[in-house]
Symmetry: C2
Subunit: 233 residues, 2 copies
DNA sequence: GAGGATTTATGATTTTTGTCATTGATATTA
DNA sequence: TAATATCAATGACAAAAATCATAAATCCTC
């Protein structure tokens, strides 16, 4: 990732300005502006960080822990769009549109979050074109992932969807070969099936030696095999 | 919609600069730059205007006719994301990312299209912040629609999905209360079901007096009823 | 560590939706 | 206008996945 152009010392925030690659594109005064528009908030596992439908007043960066971005569909069923990556700038589609949240963000683990006022953020986007470009790349990648999800969830069977999701979680959210902090209900909301079906499919995967489950964590035993299932499913 | 600030006279292109609201935000020299980077191309019904996977070299505006934006999923099955509206700037998610098409655009009717070179387009985006903002609003609205589709297609039954799609097509693509130029196969790719199921669901809707079908066009007879089905489905 | 809540697991059953085979209708074009 | 595609419609059947009921395991809290 990009080297930092400046050694901005963030007084109150331990992490986010020093580590987020995007912020390396900003100059001292831009960083100052964001720093002045910044608040730190801690969240406990399971707490809602922002909620679909509410006004979008801040960009949220999680510098410890991680969260899930989900949409609340009809009849109270949720659909998980993405898990956050470290230092993601979580705003969503409303940033450029109506300044409303069109998805919700929930803390999956305890989280330390950094809230940056949206107006300050947008004014930096406006003043610094490299930063805008970099932000747009991030945003577009997440949109592309949603396109892919749409295709996967509507065209693959349960086994294929589950394999895709396990591979996504492995690449993405959690550590090497072990998926932690993701409940069966979460898997259901990620794969668009019921939790009973999640359990049944995971059982198949265990029997086939693709995964093992140790203390509710999923260990990947046969990544190639999962890729096959994802491909043909 | 926005009034036009300038009466730019486009020599070769009959429509797009004069009618697209977004272009009213540009000054003479910006319009000149786009005009010089512009080509007109005609397409016949069923022809592919751009194809998923190919390099994204131009923004496409359809000033007569309309098209469908779809993703090509696994096993050759397609999924229609949106139908174009007049004067949409069709680029997609690749504009800000990797300059590749991540969806395909096909002419649903005969189309007159205007191709604008992506570099000229991006340089105008960079130079004119109001234009960028307006483009981002358009783009975000389409992304939001994809989010909503994701929720609808994974959580509603066939009847609900079909009702949502009919209402979308009615609001969107085609004329007052009559949906034209959309085949059963297209409906299948819009609702993520098979064409046989499309036919069965439409038959139900006919029996229930929600729609009638005249010469392959769908007439909406009971919009409230369709909204009910969409809501509860 | 006991009790209650939540999550996980499993089997039986029903519903939903897709597949296959066939026929009829509508266009397109030689 | 006949020939040949392509598209629409229908029914029988199969498969996929959800629902329901119930039990077991795990996690919290007192």
């Amino acid at each position: 990732m990009a080297e930092f152009k400046n050694n901005y010392k963030c007084l109150e925030c331990k992490h986010c300005f020093k580590k987020s690659p995007l912020f390396s594109l900003l100059n001292k005064s831009e960083l100052d502006n964001l720093n002045n528009a910044r608040t730190e908030v801690n969240f406990k596992k399971g707490e809602i960080i922002y909620k679909q439908g509410t006004p979008l007043t801040h960009i949220v960066i999680l510098h410890t822990g991680f969260g899930k971005v989900y949409i609340e569909g009809s009849k109270g069923r949720n659909l998980i769009l993405t898990y956050t990556k470290k230092y993601d700038l979580n705003g969503g589609v409303g940033v450029f549109m109506d300044l409303r949240h069109h998805s919700s963000l929930m803390a999956v683990t305890d989280c330390e979050a950094c809230f940056i006022e949206i107006n300050a953020f947008k004014s930096v986007l406006r003043s610094n074109h490299d930063f805008l470009d970099a932000y747009m790349v991030e945003f577009s990648e997440r949109v592309l992932h949603t396109y892919q999800q749409l295709s996967i969830l509507t065209q693959k069977n349960m086994e294929g969807r589950m394999a895709e999701s396990i591979l996504y979680l492995n690449d993405h959210a959690i550590s090497n070969g072990t998926i932690k902090n993701v409940s069966k209900q979460d898997l259901a909301e990620l794969t668009a099936m019921t939790k009973e079906s999640v359990i049944r499919v995971l059982k198949e995967f265990k029997i086939d030696g693709l995964i093992e489950i140790v203390e509710q964590n999923i260990n990947i035993l046969d990544k190639k095999g999962l890729e096959q299932v994802a491909y043909y499913g």
